[in-house]
């Protein structure tokens, strides 16, 4: 059995309020295998983004990890010196953010912003790096990459900008790509193209993906395994198909039933949507039970 690429062990983090720490993540553990696409879904505010930021080592001031380990290829990222962490970041672990508009520097050409990756991690000269940047743009199927490299972010549509982000993230062929809701700001048709792009490129290069989304449909179309988060806990984890077929945790079940599914009206007629609140009597108890299925099997109780 291969070693996991990313192994998060019992991660706890919180907001430091003076002396005390207000916990946001109450013990989260999961593993991502090399080349695997892992999805995280969950309620807004359940801690998906902070988990990903913790992996990147990008938590800012009031937020801090209080315990746990983040092992990347066996190395504990939390114990890594800053310098080493920087070398890893972008190079081995890369990230795409939700808002492609604000995630790019408006005053700098996209070509240059991609080229920075090569200068930083491969010690290339700016001239070479710019050439590689054009190549990276063409890799993400941006038409006219030569010209596009010289454009500024505001001259591009949302979809193009997100492609630039992807080009940037994949520039150094990272082992892990973290994508935090990369398509929620995009139109459906554009979203589909971007998703296909991520899927194809990562498959091509064997890049593992940590994919965060609200949208179960998106998760289903990309990920092999899914973790469901609720109130700072990973409450259920399973193979995608198994999770959809036999959700076990109340919240997961609520989630799946709460949304109308395309085609279900014509098959079953209009059915009342499941109201999560009605199936969950006591939200505070929700994190008491967890359903973590061992990899490769159907879900089972811990």
């Amino acid at each position: 059995m291969t070693a996991p690429l990313l192994d998060i062990k019992d991660l706890q983090l919180g907001v430091a309020l003076g002396q005390s720490i207000h916990p946001l993540l109450k013990s989260v553990s999961f593993q991502i295998m090399p080349g695997e696409a892992y999805g995280l879904v969950g309620e807004s505010g359940s801690g998906k983004s902070v988990t990903s930021l913790a992996v990147m080592g990008l938590l800012k001031k009031p937020l801090a990890v209080s315990s746990g380990k983040i092992l990347f290829k066996g190395q504990d990222l939390l114990a890594l010196p800053k310098r080493e962490m920087r070398r890893l970041r972008g190079n081995r672990v890369a990230m795409i953010f939700q808002e492609p508009m604000t995630a790019l520097n408006p005053l700098s050409t996209v070509g240059r912003q991609i080229a920075e990756m090569f200068v930083l991690h491969q010690g290339k000269s700016w001239r070479e790096a710019k050439k590689l940047a054009v190549e990276a743009l063409s890799n993400v199927r941006v038409p006219n990459p030569d010209r596009r490299a010289k454009s500024y972010p505001h001259q591009m549509s949302g979809g193009l900008r997100q492609r630039v982000m992807i080009a940037m993230a994949l520039a150094c062929n990272p082992d892990l790509l973290i994508a935090d809701e990369p398509t929620t700001a995009l139109d459906v048709t554009v979203q589909a193209e971007v998703l296909r792009l991520i899927k194809e490129l990562c498959a091509e290069r064997g890049t593992a993906v940590l994919f965060i989304s609200h949208d179960l449909g998106v998760i289903a179309s990309i990920c092999q395994r899914v973790g469901v988060m609720y109130a700072g806990c990973l409450v259920e984890e399973n193979e995608t198909r198994a999770l959809f077929d036999t959700p076990r945790h109340d919240y997961t079940r609520g989630l799946l039933g709460a949304l109308p599914r395309l085609g279900s009206r014509s098959q079953h007629g209009r059915q009342r949507l499941v109201d999560i609140d009605s199936i969950i009597a006591d939200r505070s108890k929700l994190t008491d039970t967890r359903f973590i299925a061992p990899r490769g099997t159907e879900g089972s109780q811990p």
Binding site: M56, L58, M85, R86, R87, L88, R89, G90, N91, A94, M95, F97, E99, T102, A103, L104, N105, P106, L107, S108, E116, M117, L120, H121, Y152, H154, Q155, M165, M168
Partner: protein
């Protein structure tokens, strides 16, 4: 870019026209006349014939409308009129004084920039640190002090007690004479620049694209050099423009205190003796200066920020 430039330059015109009208109206109803002010010090008995003669000579007894037409006609030919007091063209008077004012404003601004921007930058890099706290307290204090009070204190300290610098005046135009007034004048823009720089840098540091930069594995220094500096510059340039533009106007008090022969003191003196053509001309020049500087800033802005030209 050319079109943008031209458009911004043409936009100055209506503002100048309105300002010209405004000051004409204001100073046509101002009480007191130049002729009467000649007797203000009581050193001569008032001479009604002479007052009448002077008013006639300056056309002050003509109807307002007629004066207005004459004023506008002259202005349209870039003629600012003739000073009541010196009987020289206002343009010459202003020209004589402009350079002293410019020198003062430029040195004050350079001082403010050289000190304010680095301080603001450092403060923003370490928010909450001692340096940050001290800088920001200093900046609010700088903004809270009456300028002439500060100048007076500086004058007593550096000129009288320490005897390091000349206390007043233009001298023969040497740099030493410039230091005290320029530094005093520079305090306000310095404080404002330190504050805007800090706020601007902090805003940039909180922007999403800085997080992107960090996620690329960039070191702090590179983040600042590659991404923060230029974005913060956009804000700094705006402040510099506004401040630099209004510095000549703000210098009125400082010029008066330090007997600096700029157009600020020319203005105050001319208001005091009701030398209306000079007052109008000076204000116009000060306004024009403000507009030109800000237009220049807009152009610089457009050069820095590719988004501007678009709209």
């Amino acid at each position: 870019m050319f079109r943008f430039t031209l458009r911004r330059i043409l936009q100055i015109i209506p503002t100048v026209v309105v300002v010209a009208l405004l000051i004409f109206v204001i100073f046509s109803v101002v009480p007191g006349t130049f002729a009467a002010s000649l007797f203000a010090d009581g050193k001569r008995a008032a001479d009604p014939q002479m007052i009448a003669r002077l008013n006639e000579e300056f056309g002050l007894n003509k109807p307002l409308m007629e004066r207005f037409v004459a004023y506008v006609t002259d202005l349209a030919q870039f003629d600012l009129g003739t000073s009541f007091r010196t009987r020289q063209p206002v343009f010459d008077l202003i020209n004589d004084r402009m350079w002293a004012s410019l020198k003062l404003a430029i040195v004050a601004m350079v001082f403010a920039l050289a000190v304010g921007v680095p301080l603001g930058f450092l403060a923003a890099m370490r928010p909450g640190s001692v340096l940050d706290t001290v800088t920001m307290i200093g900046a609010v204090s700088g903004l809270s002090m009456p300028q002439f009070w500060l100048g007076l204190l500086a004058m007593y300290l550096f000129a009288l007690q320490l005897n390091w610098l000349p206390s007043f005046g233009y001298g023969n135009g040497s740099f030493q004479n410039l230091i005290l007034p320029a530094v005093t004048l520079g305090v306000t823009p310095l404080a404002l620049l330190a504050r805007t720089t800090r706020a601007g840098v902090l805003d940039v540091l909180n922007a999403d694209f800085i997080r992107t930069a960090h996620s690329k594995g960039m070191s702090e220094i590179k983040v600042v050099r590659w991404h923060v500096a230029r974005n913060a510059l956009v804000l700094i340039v705006t402040t510099v423009g506004l401040q630099f533009g209004s510095l000549i106007g703000q210098a009125v008090v400082i010029e008066k205190l330090f007997a600096w022969p700029g157009i600020g003191s020319l203005l105050v003196d001319s208001v005091a003796i009701r030398d209306i053509p000079v007052v109008q001309g000076t204000i116009l020049v000060i306004v024009l200066w403000f507009l030109v500087i800000n237009t220049a800033v807009d152009l610089i802005y457009a050069a820095i920020d590719p988004r501007i030209k678009q709209e």
